[in-house]
């Protein structure tokens, strides 16, 4: 099993979620996040005074996947969140030792 984490543009969230559901992903966790990548943030000007806003709002999506689904889900995430512009975000995966469905106690792939 793997945990897929994706940092995406907030405005792409609906599209990404739709693509994941179409693929057959049954559940996901979403949180609001702030951060920056290579493009850094932006500058705001108030009465001539500049304020640098480095931390930009992003959406963080976490999906638990079985090993045979991982590559497909990563592809779905990338293709649905890509705009080709700086600030599109990042997707990464990590190994997961165990997953348990709290309601039934099912373990492993059955819990995903």
């Amino acid at each position: 099993m793997k945990l897929i984490t994706a940092i995406i543009r907030p405005e792409k969230f609906d599209e990404v979620r739709g693509a994941l559901e179409s693929y057959g992903v049954q559940g996901l966790t979403v949180s609001a996040a702030n951060g920056y990548g290579r493009q850094r943030g932006h500058t705001e000007v108030y009465r001539g005074a500049e304020y640098v806003v480095d931390l930009l709002p992003k959406i963080r999506i976490e999906v638990l996947a079985t090993n045979d689904q991982v590559d497909d889900i990563v592809d779905v995430l990338i293709s649905s969140s890509n705009t080709g512009r700086a600030g599109d975000g990042k997707v990464w995966t990590v190994n997961v030792d165990e997953a348990v469905r709290v309601r039934t106690g099912e373990r492993g792939n059955a819990a995903v």
Binding site: E44, V45, Y46, R47, G48, A49, Y51, V52
Partner: protein, 452 residues
């Protein structure tokens, strides 16, 4: 007495009162979310305090019979508005309106002048110290200066017994470029120096305005009220009021363009804060000149004021004083531009009836305008600095660092402006004893009905 004139001045007075809550929004939106209530409270505090002082003896100090040299009205003559009441033929008049209507119209000028100062000390002044300062400053500075500028009394033989600037020197200040804007701006500069900078001034990105729609709303209310401020200053429903009204439309419109053009060239963006600020800068500048300029010159003045004020607000970063919401950059600078511009572009055909430099009037009027401006500027600055300094050395003018970091709203007023939910570790305790007993006794399940 003229009923039409009276009606117009009473309506104008109400319009001008609305400017102070408008100012509260204008200023409140520019502060951080944790200081918006304090910012608005300083304006509402000015309404409460200045009104009471005005009725008790302020009006008499400003418009009582001169007690020497055009410097001050007799504070005891019209104590508690004694002697200005009366109905029908027994009513005392100012021009064609009852004096009591004039009392109200002038009261709201005193209020907003004091409220304007508060923009310089956002987020860091003890509320009690502010109220004490406001009370002392309005007595020592505003009431006398209103006499200097706005009292046009003559005695029975026609000798001048009015104020030394307006009546004596002949300075043109239609609605208060000197008495209101230069006066407030100079006091604001003094207080900014006495109090020092906010923590993180010029560095902390959270100092940016927390609610720009408030700023736009406030600027809109200010502009609306300003028609009463300027056109009402004709003290009659006549052509002078009409000209002042049109100039109050034209100059701020042009100033908005002036400010936005500077922003676009300098910063790359025309901003909403710039549009609101430009409008206010234009309103400030046209205030003294509303009945002395043709609408064409009002537009020139507006563009000039908008552009210069847009540049002037950056001075605080260069010079290192924290005039938080730019009272100096907008009101002092805008007031000076408008008052001095009269010396250039006033013309005989206007209700003011005097020629400036451009119309062959020479430097005489310009000199008078400069003298009046700088007299008020210096007097207000010096007295505000001394009063502020004494308050700071005795009761202290600033809140503690800890309170400033936590936010002045919660530490000084025990309130916060916004509830976003999710405040961890908070609890509700009713102040009423019986209610508290029931609240504590009742198990939580009976208080909150849970849908199953």
């Amino acid at each position: 007495m003229n009923a039409g004139d009276t009606a117009w001045v009473l309506v104008s007075a109400a319009l001008v009162l609305l400017m102070t809550p408008g100012l509260a929004f204008f200023y409140g939106g520019m502060t951080r979310a944790k200081g918006v209530l304090n910012m608005m409270m300083m304006s509402f505090g000015a309404i409460a305090l200045v009104t009471v002082l005005w009725v008790l003896f302020g009006y008499s100090m400003a418009f009582g019979t001169d007690i020497g040299g055009g410097l001050l009205g007799n504070p005891f003559e019209k104590l508690g508005l004694n002697g200005v009441l009366g109905t029908g033929d027994s009513a005392t008049l100012v021009g064609t309106i009852p004096e009591i209507a004039f009392v109200g119209f002038q009261a709201v000028f005193a209020i907003i002048t004091v409220a304007l100062i508060s923009g310089a000390i956002a987020d860091r002044a003890k509320f009690g110290a502010w109220m004490l300062f406001a009370g002392i400053w309005v007595v020592l500075v505003y009431f006398p200066v209103a006499h200097w500028v706005f009292d046009f009394n003559k005695d029975a033989e026609g000798n001048n017994i009015g104020g030394w600037i307006g009546q004596g020197l002949g300075v043109i200040d239609f609605a208060g470029g000197t008495a209101v804007h230069i006066n407030a701006g100079a006091a604001a500069l003094a207080l900014a120096l006495v109090l020092g900078k906010r923590l993180g001034f010029g560095k902390d990105p959270s100092h940016r305005p927390h609610n720009l729609p408030f700023v736009m709303l406030g600027a809109g209310l200010l502009w609306f009220g300003w028609f009463g401020f300027n056109a009402g200053s004709a003290l009659a429903a006549n052509a002078t009021a009409g000209l002042a009204w049109i100039n109050t439309l034209a100059a701020p419109a042009a100033a908005t363009l002036g400010w936005l053009i500077v922003e676009k060239i300098r910063d790359g963006h025309a901003t909403s804060l710039g549009a609101a600020s430009g409008a206010v800068a234009g309103l400030v500048a046209i205030t003294p000149a509303a009945a002395a300029l043709t609408p064409g010159w009002a537009i020139v003045l507006g563009i000039l004021a908008g552009a210069v004020c847009a540049l002037a607000v950056g001075l605080k970063y260069k010079l290192g004083y924290d005039d938080s919401l730019d009272v100096v950059g907008v009101h002092l600078v805008g007031g000076l531009i408008g008052t001095l511009f009269i010396g250039l572009a006033a013309n005989e055909g206007s209700p003011a009836g005097v020629n400036g430099l451009f119309y062959g009037g020479g430097f005489e009027l310009l000199g008078k305008q400069a003298l009046g401006s700088f007299a008020v500027l210096i007097y207000s600055f010096v007295v505000a600095f001394i009063v502020g300094w004494i308050i700071n050395k005795t009761m202290g003018f600033r809140i503690t660092e800890e309170h400033e970091v936590n936010g002045i709203d919660i530490s000084v007023h025990a309130e916060t402006a916004y509830e976003f939910g999710g405040r961890v570790g908070s609890a509700f305790h009713p102040l009423d004893e019986a209610l508290r007993a029931r609240h504590v006794e009742a198990p939580i399940e009976t208080q909150i009905k849970v849908e199953s």
